[in-house]
Amino acid sequence: MNYGRELLKGSTDSLLLCLINNQPLYGYQIIKELGEKSNGYFQFKEGTLYPALHRLEKTGLIKGKWQKLPSGQERRYYYITEKGQKALNERLAVWRGFAEAVNLIMLPTM
């Protein structure tokens, strides 16, 4: 498996939680936001997003809610829950420590 894809696979849930924590979003918006905020680095496979969102919802980290758009169409917005915020804070702390340690070894001059 491609190294980048492997890294993304391990970080998908954290990335989704982080985005939803900033503001409630629906599936299509999440894909666009991921692409834009990462300068096109994260090209999420659309079919894999929804199982990931539903998995997070089933574990109680996010909650889906149908809302009407100004156009009258309805979309399922995802909100972060209290449990999700707690999980995100824990993941951010782990990520900071991990990234720092990896950089110390892999990029010692930085």
């Binding site: 629906y26 659309e46 079919g47 929804y50 199982p51 169409q73 399922r76």
Partner: protein, 296 residues
């Protein structure tokens, strides 16, 4: 949209979750197609590209199934309860006590009605199987009528029993054929025990049942264990495997204690019944869903 029909066809979820998910994907496709149209694509091209980005409906359905297919420990407890109650009935030699029997039958009826009216949760199908046993058992009892009456009764009763079973199974097949298998699995086990125990011309409530009670209890405890595995694993092939292993092991137990009492034909019939509780629902579902075009 053909893609959404295919997705709906492949999804084996509770109706509410299924409809919500299809609605969500419909919204996604609408947004994607709109964006592609704004980029200058024709409607046909935009449709095809949006579907391509979303991937195969079969894989999407499988991934979403694995999100919802694992039951909680609470659901597992509810699902194994009727099998443990039946096992206890024999382990504690309570099968001939009308009070316990009555309480359990009333409990099964009440639980099935509650589950059927509250969204048909997975645990319901374990209980539903026990409610259908009297339908099958009554047919077996008819074979013990004197003279030609047995054949006359069987002629009328068997189609009626099959009609009732198919009617219930058709409702559940709309959700998932594995639930029909989960519901049906006690039937070959009960029939098997009736056949094994009745070969010595002694029927339920007799000394023979008393002798075999521990083994009967053991077979229902095995069933409970398999059902717990069925509820907890995520993959469909593991769920089907759990039921198949259970049926095989129970048949082995019956063979062990029957001392060659059953003929080869009787064993063939039992093995066929044990296998058919898996394959018949799968084939029926295939027939029901086959009308919708696959991957498009």
């Amino acid at each position: 949209m053909n893609y959404l029909d295919s997705l709906k066809n492949y999804l084996r979820l509770d109706f509410t979750v299924k409809d919500e998910f299809v609605r969500e994907i419909r919204g996604h496709l609408e947004d994607k197609i709109r964006e592609l149209r704004e980029d200058g694509m024709s409607e046909e091209e935009a449709n095809a590209t949006a579907i391509k980005f979303l991937g195969s409906p079969r894989i999407l359905a499988q991934q979403i199934y694995e999100v919802y297919s694992q039951g909680s420990w609470q659901e597992t407890l509810f699902a194994v309860l009727p099998h443990f109650l039946t096992a206890s009935l024999f382990a504690l030699r309570w099968w001939s006590n009308p009070l316990w029997l009555g309480l359990i039958v009333a409990g099964v009826i009440a639980t099935v009605i509650y589950g059927w009216c509250h969204g048909k949760p997975t645990w319901l199908f374990s209980w539903l199987g026990y409610l259908l046993i009297p339908v099958v058992a009554a047919g077996v009892m008819l074979l013990y009528l004197p003279g030609d009456w047995a054949w006359v009764a069987a002629l009328f009763y068997v189609p009626l029993a099959i009609f009732i079973l198919v009617l219930v199974a058709r409702q559940i097949l709309k959700i998932d054929w594995l639930f029909v298998s989960l519901m049906m699995i006690p039937i070959p086990i009960v029939l098997g025990w009736v056949m094994v125990l009745s070969t010595s011309d002694i029927f339920l409530g007799s000394e023979r049942v008393h002798e075999a009670a521990s083994w009967i209890a053991f077979s229902f405890a095995l069933l409970a264990l398999s059902v717990a595995t069925f509820i907890r694993v995520r993959q469909r092939w593991l769920k089907a495997g759990a039921l198949l292993v259970c049926a095989t092991m129970v048949l082995a137990v019956m063979a062990l204690i029957s001392n060659n009492a059953l003929s080869l034909w009787a064993w063939l019939l039992l093995s066929l019944l044990a296998l058919s509780h898996l394959f018949v629902p799968a084939l029926l579902e295939r027939g029901m869903r086959g009308k919708v075009t696959p991957d498009s």
